[in-house]
Symmetry: C2
Subunit: 384 residues, 2 copies
């Protein structure tokens, strides 16, 4: 009997309360029964997005909402700016190119956050660019981006701020309306704590206005059509009913916890993870701006094959973390600490890491990492 633990940055573990709902008989979606669930979900999505706008639910994964953000906002030949801090920032560039937009990309070294001055200079050079596309948290490098600064620059230059918050929303504070974020996106299998299959996107008044003149071809991802449907507690196409039922429960859980407590929990779990990793003598990739969602750790130089760390953790111990992607493959591993995650998920992940590091020949005094995590928890005084 090997127990399995999911410590990956998506999918994240599904709470038992939610799981119990996913196998229930589903109602037809054009019924008052489903519309009641849908109405509650809409209200609670507005709460977690911190917006008065409608949060559109798409039956797709996060990339579908990123596609929708581009397909619905622009006109042929428009110019956009993308901030490429890793695999997901690069995805903005690729989507822009797929729709044949003019893409100006700021490419950052892995783990480095954007320097707002660089963005400001590029905007000044290209004041005709329509939008700035970026990540709130770049999942591939565990780096948190200066969202507020980016949004302020976008406002200054009258551009739209289009924020992929797929591993950020519900993890740290992103007050959409207060900051004036124009487009905010997340996915279901992240802090929303349900299986993959739903993506979420909210638009500001400015962004909705842009959809009116947009002319890129689209059909399935038609946001104005979805907006009209959502207002009657419906979707344009058949939605992922069972996932929306699960989402209703996970949003209730988030509300029970409270938004401040939610962010504080994630900050504490992230801090404990970082302290544990450092106590083990390891280095964090994103030194200056580590994400509260996921911690990317450099493979110690003593280990030749970095891919062995996540592989052994999963295959021998049942603990699934993430390795590095693309050019970071074998060079980092990533410990996730968001969603349905508490104190003892952190100690589980670090315990397993200690065992595996020792097994691979890296010197470990057992308990060092876990001890540092526990100390962080005790010091914070915050009980689970």
């Amino acid at each position: 009997m090997k127990k399995n633990y999911l410590l990956s940055p998506g999918p994240t573990p599904v709470p038992e309360r939610v799981a119990a709902i996913l196998g229930q008989p589903i109602p037809h979606h054009r019924t008052p029964e489903f519309e009641k669930i849908f109405a509650e979900v809409r209200e609670n999505l507005r709460w977690i997005f911190q917006t008065k706008q409608e949060v559109i639910m798409l039956t797709a994964t996060g990339t579908g909402a990123m596609d929708a953000a581009v397909a619905n906002l622009f006109r042929r030949g428009d110019k956009i700016i993308t901030i490429n801090g890793g695999k997901f920032g690069e995805r903005w560039t690729k989507i822009g190119q797929a729709f044949e937009l003019g893409v100006l990309e700021i490419k950052l070294p892995p783990g480095e956050a954007l320097d707002p001055a660089v963005l400001r200079a590029l905007c000044a050079e290209h004041p005709d660019a329509k939008a700035i596309h970026f990540q709130a948290s770049e999942t591939s490098t565990g780096c948190q981006m200066p969202v507020k600064a980016i949004v302020d620059i976008a406002k200054h230059f009258n551009m739209l701020s289009v924020c992929d918050a797929i591993t950020a929303l519900g993890v740290f504070n992103l007050p959409m309306d207060e900051w004036g974020i124009d487009v905010l996106i997340t996915g279901s299998q992240k802090a929303m704590m349900i299986p993959p299959g739903l993506a979420f996107i909210a638009l500001s008044d400015r962004a909705w206005a842009a959809t009116k003149s947009a002319n890129l071809p689209k059909f399935y991802f038609d946001l104005p059509k979805e907006l009209a449907a959502h207002k009657t507690n419906q979707t344009a196409w058949t939605p992922a009913i069972s996932l929306i039922m699960g989402l209703n429960e996970s949003l209730r859980m988030m509300k029970e916890e409270g938004i401040d407590a939610l962010f504080a929990r994630h900050a504490l779990l992230a801090e404990a993870t970082r302290n544990a990793v450092k106590a083990l003598g390891l280095e964090i990739l994103s030194k200056k701006s580590p994400s509260n969602a996921v911690t990317a750790v450099l493979v110690p130089p003593s280990l030749k094959d970095g891919k062995k760390i996540p592989k052994l953790m999963r295959d021998t111990y049942g603990v699934t973390i993430a390795g590095g992607q693309d050019e970071l493959e074998g060079k980092i591993f990533r410990l996730s600490h968001f969603g349905y995650c508490g104190h003892f998920d952190i100690t589980t992940g670090i315990s397993c890491l200690e065992l595996v590091l020792a097994e691979l020949g890296h010197p470990v005094t057992f308990g060092t990492g876990v001890g540092a995590a526990l100390k962080t928890f005790a010091h914070a005084g915050k009980k689970p």
Copy 2:
């Protein structure tokens, strides 16, 4: 305690064996554990699609696969033919127009199947059209289309046959490779017996060849990218993991039943439904070519408000059937008989219909409809 029964043409009921899986902990999708499930699903999808081609799974609902079929096959300015036998045929036209293709539409009166001669004439007039888009079963009218004849015409004129089989695949025989269907599409919440959130699309060699020169913009629905990923038991983007786990079980159930038995069961359930409805003195919308998936019944002229039939069935008795859509609203109601559906789902639906018709003042000798269904079953000699 009101028990609920789902007799709608999608979502259809989820079998208990499948439901039990949907709430299980999900594995990460980039793991051997998930890849094993994925490999089995791929093989069984090829079986039910009756093809050697890869069946691509998209995290979307059926309309997403229809969108993908257009976005991946054509070049700007291409001309296509659509067969509009109702709401879903009309959707092909709308998608073609959304992508700014030249759309030649054959519009049929509700419930009427295509006359192949009409299609042949249109093709002869427009030999430069690239494809014929149609439904195998038009869900909005309960009409089955002459798929083989359409495919043969497409072949003759060197056009692609693009078949929306969303309420047909797994219901009646659509041997993709044998007939040479170029594109075959279905969705998860239909005969596949799982909740909505997955769409399926298979392409012939000719269709895959067309994707190579296609140049319409797309990103999330990139079929060649998905093909490459599927071959390694992966998807381009995070898939709807829990639904694929459920699908694995529902495909196993279909294989246990056997493909011939599957089609025979659906044929029998459809026949019993039609006989029951006729015995009640009601008329079927599609007289000459009724679908084995869903039976659309004309509201008797004696009843003023046809919308009351499905509403009363659902609200008073917990039996969800479908009403008419768009211009057929209030004029028909639709009894579904596919997916996880047996003898006593038919007798349940007809029993409820008898009660409601009587309640609305339509003369009913109780048992007439159900009796005709039972007689059909007894006569067929086929036990559930």
